[in-house]
């Protein structure tokens, strides 16, 4: 044998199957593994339902239950799609081996499939068949066997099937020990189901469902089951797109569609590299399989019907699968120096801006848990949806001399505050926002309760808040001057209420003959009260009364006398079939003159009767407390007071910075030395590399001013900040003594604000309540931006 003959022409570098087992060591959770298999099913079913209107698509995931799981148990994912031919199966599996991924699709048995199945167990069976075939084709991928034989040959099996049957099934067995341990937890299947509902919200929800915003949000109405139980999509609980608030004298809708068309691009179907122009051969992998693909950024921004500390933010999807949820990166502003500042939420740390952005063309990481945020595709989306300027208009104007006009900025500015009432679309109870109650309703929304699918309940609560706080809307205007003028001209028949040819006054003169008077029934009497009443929104709920549960409602009446035995009462109570209704007269002395809240009046006045009817032992005080404890939104505590104050101070700084940017020197000189030093210290604490000298010169110092500094401005330079500058308070036009009163009044508010922000936590409830009232008064005094 010559030396040349012993030299091989090639080396066999086929990777050993053990590599897949090693790759499977990556930290993929159970639901993430299942997603890789479900993605294949959804790819197929979306297409199958498009071509066959009779197909009722379904994907079934079967997991061994806690009591039965062992290594020999199976994890099964099956769909009723069209199935594959032998050639298609071979292509799908071999494509997976080569790491090939189809664009516009989620999986196609790619590397994700291989890693996911290997992560679950060592034997994977793929069984598939098409309508009309009389056999299932079954491929068994046994990693250990492949390793033992050092072979990539996969045995095929053929089993009888009914010609009507079709679909693909992937089953994994010889499960990994850690998966078995995981499935032994009774809650693991529930957790999987919940995660799948979150990840596939778009795929699973009905675009024609009854929930507000259904059509705008869209959905593909696919069905997914885990152990026979339907996976419920986590549907965003948003305000209807037809709702709006006023911002900059224009209507700002509560939801907005995002649609950014992009130019088509060319994608290498082998390695995934994108090209802006057509290439015959991929520069990276030399593949000639390069196809033109449509690209676009689509989705929506919306306002959630409740605010929450963590449950808000954006969902970013790729091919219908949520890659990240509750993402808040678009609320960050990255300054020119690279510092990142969180701009939202501003209030109590509670946010409610949500949305979904589909980025089918942007790259994701291998585990599909995040987009590549350094990619040009992601950065372009950020530019279009959020913009590169601060969301806060004053800051943007000061720093860049223009405002951020992105969709996110418009949303941020219209809905940045969580104040109760219709102005910001936030449910309230007449005194505070009812965050807890609004969230409880959202739970009912998510459990499918039809009464909570539209935003009606939340809207009513926002409107009722305004009614309770500011009184009912004004009655229709009495005959106007215009009517008098018309009468003077002999054209009285054209006036208000005279469209039918005779005036209201004529009707009054000739009343209809009185109907036969019948005594009013109790039903009629309470119906009459309700006609003149506003329901306190957070009270329409079950409340524990001793050992009983009762539906509890408090109505605030106006313009109607509440009577009992012919005597006018501050409250009347009606208890029927487990429902307690308490009617409170808003004119009653406790409310009108002593500022009690209607709920407190209702509880105190009705407590003896409730105690009697529900046979509750103990004191009246104990009963009232036990009921109030069930209304956490009503609680007054020091953290709520401090948060409110910090929000007010933030608003003051924002507004003030707008003023100081125009005349920084004058404002700076009005500050005491102590306030100047405090502002500088604070600036260095929160922004260590701040250029303080520049901040003093350009007015930016106002963003670091404490309450003491604002107080300095009010006392030393009232003409700078009153009369519509920082505060609405009238000043210049008044006499000297009254001017002093005005300064004293605003100063008193600010002194309280200082107490709220920098003082030790307060425990005295009366004082906390007083400070909250001050905050309300001060808020009303500040010029709105």
């Amino acid at each position: 044998m010559t030396e040349t003959e012993t030299r091989p022409d090639t080396l066999n570098l086929t990777p050993p199957p053990r590599i897949l087992e090693m790759i499977a060591e990556v930290d993929l959770q159970l639901h993430q593994c299942l997603c890789e298999l479900i993605d294949n099913c959804l790819d197929e079913l979306v297409e199958a339902t498009r071509v066959d209107e009779t197909l009722e698509p379904r994907i079934d995931v079967t997991l061994p239950t806690a009591g039965k799981v062992n290594r020999a148990a199976k994890v099964v994912v099956s769909d009723n799609g069209r199935g594959m031919s032998q050639e298609e199966l071979q292509y799908a599996l071999s494509a997976g081996r080569s790491g090939k991924q189809r664009f516009g699709s989620l999986g196609l048995f790619g590397m994700g499939f291989n890693i996911a199945t290997a992560r679950l167990g060592t034997i994977t069976v793929v069984r598939t068949g098409r309508r009309g075939d009389d056999r299932w084709i079954t491929a068994t991928i046994d990693l250990r066997e492949m390793q033992r034989l050092s072979s990539y040959e996969v045995p095929l099996r053929y089993e009888r099937k009914a010609p009507d049957e079709h679909g693909t099934l992937v089953s994994v067995t010889n499960l990994r020990e850690d998966l078995v341990a995981k499935l032994k937890s009774a809650s693991s299947i529930r957790e999987v189901s919940k995660n799948l509902g979150r990840i596939y919200t778009y795929m699973l929800r009905d675009p024609n469902g009854p929930h507000s915003g259904a059509q705008m949000m869209g959905g593909l109405n696919q069905r997914l089951y885990v152990n026979g139980r339907q996976v419920t999509p986590l549907v965003p609980c948003i305000w209807d797109p037809t709702r709006s608030v006023m911002y900059k004298a224009a209507e700002a809708p509560a939801a907005e569609v995002i649609h950014v068309p992009l130019t088509n691009a060319f994608a290498c179907m082998n390695c995934g590299r994108w090209y802006t122009s057509r290439y015959d051969e991929c520069v990276d992998c030399e593949s000639t399989d390069i196809q033109e693909r449509e690209r676009r950024i689509v989705g929506w921004l919306g306002v959630q019907r409740f605010a929450d500390k963590s449950d808000f933010g954006l969902t970013f999807l790729r091919s219908g699968r949520a890659i990240t949820t509750r993402d808040r990166s678009l609320f960050d502003w990255e300054g020119p120096d690279g510092d990142i500042e969180l701009e939202y939420p501003i209030e109590l740390g509670m946010g409610r801006i949500v949305g979904e952005i589909h980025l089918d063309h942007a790259p994701v990481n291998v585990r599909k848990t995040n987009f590549d945020t350094s990619s040009p595709e992601w950065r372009y989306m950020v530019e279009k949806v959020r913009g590169d300027l601060p969301l806060r208009p004053q800051l943007a104007k000061r720093l860049f001399n223009r405002e951020n006009d992105s969709p996110m900025s418009r949303f941020f500015n219209a809905f940045r505050e969580n104040k109760p009432g219709l102005r910001y679309l936030m449910p309230g109870n007449g005194s505070t926002a009812i965050h807890n109650e609004a969230k409880r309703w959202a739970q009912k929304f998510r459990s499918g309760d039809p009464e909570f699918q539209t935003d009606e309940k939340w809207y009513e609560a926002a409107a009722d808040h305004d009614r309770v706080k500011h009184g009912p809307p004004p009655e229709p205007a009495p005959p106007s001057d215009e009517d008098d003028w018309l009468k003077g001209e002999g054209l009285g028949h054209l006036g208000t209420g005279a469209a039918d040819g005779h005036s209201p006054s004529q009707d009054q003169k000739q009343p209809e003959p009185a109907a036969e008077t019948r005594p009013e029934t109790e039903e009629q009497r309470f119906a009459r009260y309700r006609e003149h009443a506003t329901l306190l929104p957070d009270t329409d709920r079950e409340v524990r009364l001793g050992t009983a549960q009762a539906i509890f409602r408090v109505y605030v009446t106006s313009g109607v006398e509440l009577l009992k035995d012919g005597q006018r009462q501050p409250t009347v109570v009606r208890i029927v079939a487990g429902e307690v209704e308490i009617y409170v007269d808003s004119d009653t002395t406790l409310i009108a003159r002593y500022g009690w809240s209607p709920l407190n009046v209702a509880l105190v006045c009705a407590a003896p009767q409730l105690k009697n009817v529900y046979s509750i032992s103990g004191s009246i005080d104990g009963l009232v407390t036990s009921i109030l404890e069930q209304f956490p939104d009503r609680r007054v505590d020091s953290s709520a007071v401090r948060s409110r104050a910090e929000m007010l101070l933030e608003g003051l700084r924002d507004r003030l910075a707008d003023l100081t940017s125009k005349d920084a020197a004058t404002f700076w000189s009005a500050l005491s030395g102590q306030s100047k030093r405090a502002a500088e210290s604070y600036a260095i604490a929160v922004a260590p590399d701040v250029d303080w000298k520049a901040a003093v010169e350009n007015g930016e110092f106002a963003r670091y001013l404490g309450v003491e500094g604002v107080l300095d401005l009010v006392t030393s330079g009232p003409e700078l900040v009153l009369d519509g500058g920082l505060f609405r308070t009238t000043y210049a036009a008044l006499g000297e003594e009254t001017q002093a009163d005005q300064v004293a009044r605003v100063s008193a508010f600010l002194t309280d604000l200082k107490r709220m922000v920098v003082g030790p936590p307060l425990q005295n409830t009366l004082e906390l309540s007083r400070l909250l009232l001050t905050a309300d008064l001060l808020d009303a005094e500040i010029v709105q931006v």
Binding site: E53, T54, E56, R58, D60, K68, S78, N80, D164
Partner: protein, 206 residues
């Protein structure tokens, strides 16, 4: 109270069929169904209309024992609600074919419900009793198979356990069904029995 007029009864059936279709009623769990009955009672288009013809406490049992049970049969193409649904099972003939073989056919006038059952005729003149339903209805199917076996020692009997997808039944379930069938000298088959949407969207009539 006046009796429920037929046109109104059918309108309420149609309204309920719409709800049942949307939620895939045959898959709804018992607790979820209980909650749904409460909602139907409160629904002005259902409970609200029925309240004119029956006491409030009768509305819920009327829905539960009437239309709710009719729906599953309607999916089989049986009963007054069958024309109102937008979904359907492949039907009894399909089960006969899937469980017995392509030469077998449903014998006319032998179809019965609760559980679904019929007589089928084979290509060589033989006949068989066949009963079918999901695993949750195995008890009823076995009972009717027992009754048949009590009538005739030689009758061919097939119990077909239906499943909503192509995945095989869980091993434990299948072993149980096979064991019970063996005791009765009956055949046991598992049959994929998937609901499909009716071909035209406007096929629902009252």
């Amino acid at each position: 109270m006046a009796a429920l007029p037929e046109p109104i009864r059918l309108e309420i059936f149609a309204e309920l069929a719409r709800h049942f279709d949307a939620m895939r009623w045959e898959e709804v769990s018992s607790p979820a169904a209980t909650e749904m009955y409460d909602r139907f009672v409160k629904d002005p288009k259902i409970g609200g209309r029925l309240a004119r013809f029956m006491p409030t406490e009768k509305i819920r049992p009327w829905i539960k024992d009437g239309p709710a049970k009719q729906y599953r049969r309607a999916l089989e193409g049986v009963g007054p609600m069958a024309q109102m649904t937008t979904r359907e099972y492949p039907g009894p003939q399909s089960v006969v074919r899937l469980a017995m073989g392509s030469g077998w056919a449903l014998r006319a006038q032998t179809l019965e419900v609760k559980p679904m059952r019929c007589v089928a005729d084979g290509p060589d003149g033989e006949s068989a009793f066949i009963t079918w339903g999901p695993m949750s209805g195995l008890q009823g199917m076995v009972w009717h198979a027992c009754l048949r076996r009590a009538e005739s020692e030689s009758q061919l009997i097939t119990i077909a356990v239906t499943k909503p997808n192509t995945a095989p039944l869980p091993d434990d379930d299948w072993r149980l069904a096979l064991s019970l069938a063996t005791i009765l000298r009956a055949r046991c088959e598992q049959v994929t029995y998937m609901v499909s949407r009716k071909a035209t969207s406007d096929s629902r009539t009252v």
